[in-house]
Symmetry: C2
Subunit: 538 residues, 2 copies
């Protein structure tokens, strides 16, 4: 049976950095030639990075991307390259190039326009009949990402009906937890429909709120997974694919583990946001709580301990335990650590506002003052030292608005904004288990959560326990269930009513929060475009 | 010739407030019956308000909107009602109802998915042949908004070809300056193509960053404008339309004036954002500069002077002139006014940060501290009193990042964020001219702009003069011109390079800024979806 040497270029592109992306592709082309590869697949829109968003509306950007594509095309030799680019018109296309020439262009047919995607904002859909390309004697069908998600009469099945012997599918398909299973099932279904093996190449890396996990694969015509690349690492792998159903050398990354893939996604999100934006260091306010603890761990794994700076900012209400926990964590992580008590600024604001607010006991205004003073200190370090501020709010808090706008939400990147509190606990145990020692102090994991903005404050004074809250939020936010459906699932109606109202009322706060890594099927961000002004009461 | 009595319901709906919207429609139906109207047109998606955004992804919301539609349908009597609703499936539809029953549904065919629009995210396009409905003996074609923007073989021309004697087009078409001319030209073209008069009804009011100006109209079959409703006011008008080309009684609002329509749009944006979100009062930091001055004027016109609160927050660098100008403006507007010196907090932060930052002259960190202290004071009033903070940054500043994140950009609504500085000057003169007296002190209009965050600071120390800056921004931001195109138009290459770079680098700051009224064809907001992480260098 025919054997083809295939290069899977699971690369980390940068949106807009056309020159950098092209340089990376030219290197890979050289390696492909040296390896004697027959074909190499780059990710979807590899020239521009994905998603380029409104850069595509700049005619100059599209022209530059075409020039860059032509440069890559001219450098091809005997190895056929499948290159993602924005074709004038505008199409999301794959260029098939060999011997310095374009030998064809495939235009993406199915343009996702839901969830985080806006492709119909930019692109027209490819139409008309399908065709195949001869690569190393095999009749090959080419398609782009979403095209693989349409069954039966979709592009891949049609290419199969034309007699395709091999299916090449290039992707920029974002991560969420457990998504790899669905991805693998879809590729398997397409291979079976087409009656041909499928080579699936996905990009890797972070882009604003999205991360891409790679997880490129080869599936046999009979639906057997022949190769799987690792998640979250750049890979340039060459394999010999026997279309009868084998891959040499063996290339099978382990099955992803849930905690591991989520944690690594978060690390990737921070690393690429910081580095691709030209920064090296970050600052994290360490409260001694679990959220800031896990954020510090993620930052250290992303950037190295020498690039992470912790600040403890105790107020008149902070417990000694919290200060000790913050310091202990910093020591275990080996990061820069300092303490800046916020009392001088706190006292100054109270004094400045007293003539307007009069005599009254401390209230939510005062709580917000403390949080905002901390946000200001973080941002002063951003201004003075160029350390990006990482925010520490989790998805449960983002959902119900349990954070201070311009306070703890002030910063460049919301590391765990798509991670529910109950998942934060789980990831904390994962961090300690993986290290084989206590990185996050056990006390931090087990003590009752508190914002410590007033004496003896506990999260549970304001919110139901997170074990009750998180499933309600998951149903209402991620699955768009109605209030009645959530109640029917067994939740206390009074709690559901209160939570639903809190979620709806916090939209204006979320809108001004920083981006953060999406790890769920529906994150706060491009995924969920709710009006702020909203009279709907469920 | 046949005469039909037409009701134009140019109403101000609230997104999501299905009950409120329906109540308003039921009232209008009663008025229509009392007036003996044959047909009444409500705006596009009048049941849900426009744009409902991701509320449409909630199955419960769509079900509630259908129930509400049925309530309106059941209340119809002899007057035919054209009602915008979200049809299950999902379609952006117009229901044609009479005598308590649906007599038809028209599904919008052209779904805008560019600029601020995401309709392909939610809706499928209507397809198939067209039909007409008999209303008061006239064969009528019905269409929705964007359908009217497709010439020649578009929906309205096809309805004309079927013999339509009257075209009914319902809209939720957002404002930008001068848009009314284009709107009128489009309706004229459709009337001529169809050979039938067109009744065009548009909604009015503000929804987050969008405002809708109304400006509903009747166009004759020969392209003569027969009726024009005013901008920015709710109207329920009944006219007798003789399809031969006349409207009785005369209903011709004046041609919009540019400054007047922009100013009124800004007033509408603030008023509806504040009120539809359940608030009554606002607070504005009055620096004595022109931006905060015009924002205060707009707020007073939107909400009344008793609902506007000015705070002067002098620092060690504030001039006496600025404090006097702030006070003078507040007195002329008759608003609450107080002074809170920020020195105590400023000194406290400097002291808290000194151990980390060491001895050095004041720098941009200190400038941002001052701006953020002011933002914190505003927000303390929001927390304590429920006064929404209005921000005062203009489009020139938003574009180049000449503002402090969490400082002067902290607040609920960015009143003039889509107004270039040169337009702010023009609007200030308009305010004084309209009042027939000096509301904004002449000195405020003529003095050189300054942030007053360091001694003798002037905007022109950091930026080119606004007369040079604004045209560059208009070309680069609103028209997506390349750097080379902007230079070719006659601008200094060095200045263009610097400005383009500043615009690109400020994306992360804009992303966390509050929404504000769109008055241009491309505002910062849903209109311009740029990646933050962006390696593109033009």
């Amino acid at each position: 049976m025919p054997v083809i040497r295939v290069g899977l270029a699971q690369l980390n592109m940068t949106v807009g950095d056309i020159d950098g992306n092209v340089a990376r592709m030219l290197e890979a082309l050289d390696e492909a030639e040296a390896a004697g590869a027959d074909v190499i697949l780059f990710p979807e829109l590899s020239v521009t990075g994905y998603p380029p968003e409104d850069l595509l509306l700049k005619p100059g950007f599209v022209a530059d991307n075409i020039k860059a594509l032509n440069k890559v095309v001219r450098r091809t030799r005997s190895c056929t390259a499948i290159i993602g680019f924005a074709e004038k018109g505008l199409y999301n296309s794959a260029c098939i190039a060999r011997d310095g020439k374009r030998i064809g262009v495939y235009r993406k047919r199915h343009l996702p326009n839901t969830a985080v995607f806006d492709e119909q904002r930019y692109f027209k859909a490819g139409r008309g009949g399908h065709r195949l390309w001869d690569i190393a004697g095999l009749q090959c069908g080419v398609s782009v990402c979403e095209d693989a998600w349409f069954p039966e009469d979709g592009p891949i099945a049609r290419q199969g009906a034309l007699g395709a012997e091999l299916i090449l599918n290039i992707n920029a398909s974002p991560f969420y937890a457990g998504r790899w299973r669905e991805r693998e099932a879809v590729v398997r279904a397409r291979a079976l429909e087409a009656g041909a093996p499928v080579v699936y190449v996905n990009q890797v890396g972070g882009q604003d709120e999205l991360v891409f996990e790679g997880g490129s694969m080869v599936m046999s015509a009979t639906g057997e997974l022949l190769a799987r690349l690792p998640q979250f690492t750049e890979e340039l792998v060459f394999v010999d694919l026997d279309v009868a159903g084998s891959v040499t050398p063996p290339t099978m990354a382990p099955v992803p583990d849930l905690d591991d893939e989520v944690y690594t996604a978060l690390v990737t999100g921070v690393r690429d946001y910081v580095r691709k934006n030209g920064f090296s260091d970050v600052v994290v306010a360490l409260s001694g709580g679990i959220d800031s603890s896990i954020v510090a761990c993620i930052a250290v794994d992303a950037l190295g301990p020498e690039h992470v700076h912790g600040i403890s900012m105790p107020s008149r209400y902070s417990s000694d335990g919290s200060r000790d926990d913050a310091r202990a964590l910093a020591e275990r992580l080996g990061i820069d650590f300092r303490t800046i008590a916020i009392e001088p600024a706190h006292a100054a604001f109270v004094e400045m506002l007293a003539p307007s607010f009069g005599e009254r006991p401390p209230n939510v205004t005062d709580e917000n003052l403390q949080s905002r003073i901390r946000g200001m200190v973080n941002m002063a370090f951003t201004n003075e030292k160029g350390w990006l501020t990482l925010t520490t709010g989790n998805k449960s808090e983002m959902a119900v608005g349990y954070f201070t706008l311009y306070g703890d939400s002030a910063g460049a990147y919301g590391v765990i904004k798509d991670v529910f509190k109950t998942e934060v606990w789980r990831l904390s145990r994962y961090v300690n288990a993986r290290a084989g020692r206590e990185i996050i102090p056990e006390d931090v994991i087990t003590k009752p959560p508190s914002a410590e903005l007033r004496p003896d404050q506990k999260d549970e004074d304001s919110l139901p326990p997170y074990e009750i809250l998180d499933p309600i939020l998951e149903a209402y936010v991620e699955r768009d269930q109605t209030r009645d459906e959530v109640v029917a699932a067994g939740h206390d109606p009074a709690i559901v009513d209160r939570i639903v109202r809190l979620v709806d009322l916090a939209e204006h706060k979320r809108r001004q929060s920083p981006p953060g890594t999406r790890v769920s099927p529906k994150a706060f961000g491009k995924d969920r475009r709710m009006p702020i002004t909203n009279g709907y009461r469920v």
